[in-house]
Amino acid sequence: MEEKRPAANLDLRGVICPVNFVKTKLKLEEMNIGEILEVLIDTGEPIANVPRSIKEEGHKIIKVEKIDSHFRLLIEKV
C-alpha cells in the first residue's frame, strides 16, 4: 500500500513530555480532517506516551517506523 503524503510535519526529537504531545495536538487542530501529519519523536518516554494520547484524542496512527533512536509516526486527523 502506498504511503499517504504528509500535509505537515513536526520534528519533536529532543522535545520532552508533555510538550511533544501538546505541539502535536496543536498542529493537528490546524489541519483538515483526513490530512496526514508526520511526527518524529524519541524512544523512551515520548514513544510510550504520545501515541496513546493521540489515540485518546481520537486520531488515527496509520504508520509507525523505528529509525535509529527515534520513531516516525504518520497520524491521520480524524
Partner: protein
C-alpha cells in the same frame, strides 16, 4: 451559642461500651440523658475541647454534589466555632468544633439536601474510591459506581472493630486497597491479536513493567505474564488496536490495615466480575462476625492470620475461577523499625 449552664463530663467507659448513656446535669436543676452510643455510631467525634465534637459527614468516594457542598458550608459557618472544615483521610468532610447541643439541628439542616452523617466505631465505614474510569485516563473500572453501591448496601453494619473498604480504578492503587480490611482494584488482562499487529514496538515502550519484549527482527511482542500488572497501558498505546481487553474485573485484597501496626492485605482474587463484589463483601463480613464472636475489638486481619486456611476454604466457592491459587495470608508491614522489642 455555647450554653454555660450545661456540664458534660466525658466518661471513658463509653468508649469501651460499658456504658451507653450519660446523664447531663443542667445547672438549672433539669436532667437530660444523652445516648452517646448512638452519637458515636453517628459520626460525632469528641474533641479535646469540652462540649465540642467533630461531626463527620458521609461522603462516599469523596464525591460531594455541589448542592450538598453549599449546604455543608452554610451549616459549618452556622454551627462550627471555627472557619474551616477538615477533609478526612477517608475523603469525608468533617465539621469541627460543634457543640453537642446543636447536633439535632445540624443534622436536620444537612438532611434537607440529603446529606447524611457518617460513622465511627466498630462497623463498616464509608467506602472510599478514586475517580475511576469515568474520566481518569488510567481508570479501568467504574469504582465510583461500585463505591456508591457499597455505601448504600453495607455502610454501618456492625462488626467487631472498624471495617474499611476502598476501591482503586487501576493498579497504581492510589486508594491503597492493600491497607484495607477489604479492597477492590481494577485490572484488565491484555490479549494480543497477531493478525492486526504491525510490529511497531510501541507496546514494548509503553509497558512499564518490562513484561513486553518485541522481537528484534519483526517487532512482534512477547508477553511475560508473570510480570504483567494488568494496567492496560499496552492496550491504550497500541495504534493498531492489536492489544485487546481479555478478562476484566477486580483484584480483591483482604485483611489489610494502617495504623500503629500496619498489615498488608492478602490478594484472594483477580478479575472478579463487578457483579460478584457484593456477594464477596457479604461473605467476608459473615465470616468476620462468626469468627470474631466473643473476641472483642479485633480487626479481621488478625483473625485471618490465625485462621487463614479456614477462611480460604470458606471464601473459595464465592470467588470461583477468580480465586488465587494458594493465597498468602496478610503480613505485617514494619514501619517502626526502632521498636525492636515489639512482638506479634
Amino acid at each position: 451559642m455555647k450554653d454555660k449552664n450545661i456540664d458534660i463530663r466525658y466518661d471513658h467507659n463509653l468508649e469501651e461500651q460499658k456504658k451507653s448513656k450519660l446523664e447531663i446535669e443542667m445547672k438549672r436543676g433539669k436532667k437530660e440523658v444523652f445516648n452517646l452510643d448512638q452519637l458515636k455510631s453517628g459520626g460525632y467525634i469528641r474533641q479535646r475541647q469540652k462540649d465540642l465534637f467533630t461531626v463527620r459527614l458521609r461522603c462516599p468516594g469523596g464525591r460531594v454534589p455541589v448542592e450538598k457542598l453549599k449546604k455543608i458550608a452554610e451549616a459549618a459557618s452556622k454551627y462550627s466555632k471555627r472557619d474551616y472544615v477538615h477533609i478526612s483521610v477517608r475523603q469525608s468532610i468533617e465539621i469541627p468544633y460543634v457543640d453537642y447541643k446543636d447536633f439535632s439541628q445540624l443534622s436536620d439542616e444537612l438532611g434537607e439536601v440529603g446529606q447524611k452523617i457518617a460513622s465511627c466505631g466498630p462497623r463498616v465505614r464509608v467506602p472510599t474510591a478514586c475517580s475511576g474510569c469515568e474520566y481518569n485516563p488510567n481508570g479501568l473500572v467504574d469504582v465510583q459506581k461500585l463505591c456508591q453501591e457499597i455505601d448504600q448496601k453495607y455502610f454501618g453494619i456492625q462488626c467487631n472493630h472498624k471495617f474499611k473498604i476502598s476501591l482503586s480504578g487501576c493498579p497504581i492503587d492510589c486508594f491503597r486497597t492493600n491497607e484495607m480490611d477489604l479492597g477492590f482494584q481494577g485490572a484488565v488482562e491484555p490479549i494480543w491479536d497477531e493478525d492486526t499487529c504491525t510490529g511497531c514496538r510501541i507496546c514494548g515502550y509503553a509497558c512499564r513493567e518490562g513484561a513486553i519484549t518485541n522481537d528484534v527482527q519483526t517487532g512482534k511482542p512477547v508477553i511475560d505474564r508473570s510480570k504483567c500488572l494488568y494496567c492496560a497501558d499496552c492496550i491504550r498505546a497500541c495504534p493498531a488496536n492489536s492489544w485487546k481487553e481479555g478478562r476484566k474485573g477486580l483484584v480483591v485484597r483482604v485483611g489489610g490495615r494502617h495504623g500503629r501496626h500496619p498489615m498488608n492485605g492478602a490478594v484472594i482474587a483477580v478479575f472478579l466480575p463487578e457483579e460478584k463484589m457484593g456477594k464477596v463483601i457479604e461473605k467476608v463480613l459473615e465470616w468476620y462476625n462468626k469468627e470474631g464472636k466473643d473476641k472483642g475489638r479485633v480487626r479481621i486481619g488478625d483473625i485471618l492470620r490465625d485462621k487463614w486456611t479456614g477462611f480460604v476454604d470458606f471464601i473459595k466457592p464465592v470467588l470461583g475461577d477468580c480465586a488465587v491459587k494458594n493465597p498468602k495470608k496478610p503480613e505485617y508491614i514494619k514501619i517502626h523499625s526502632f521498636q525492636t522489642g515489639w512482638m506479634l
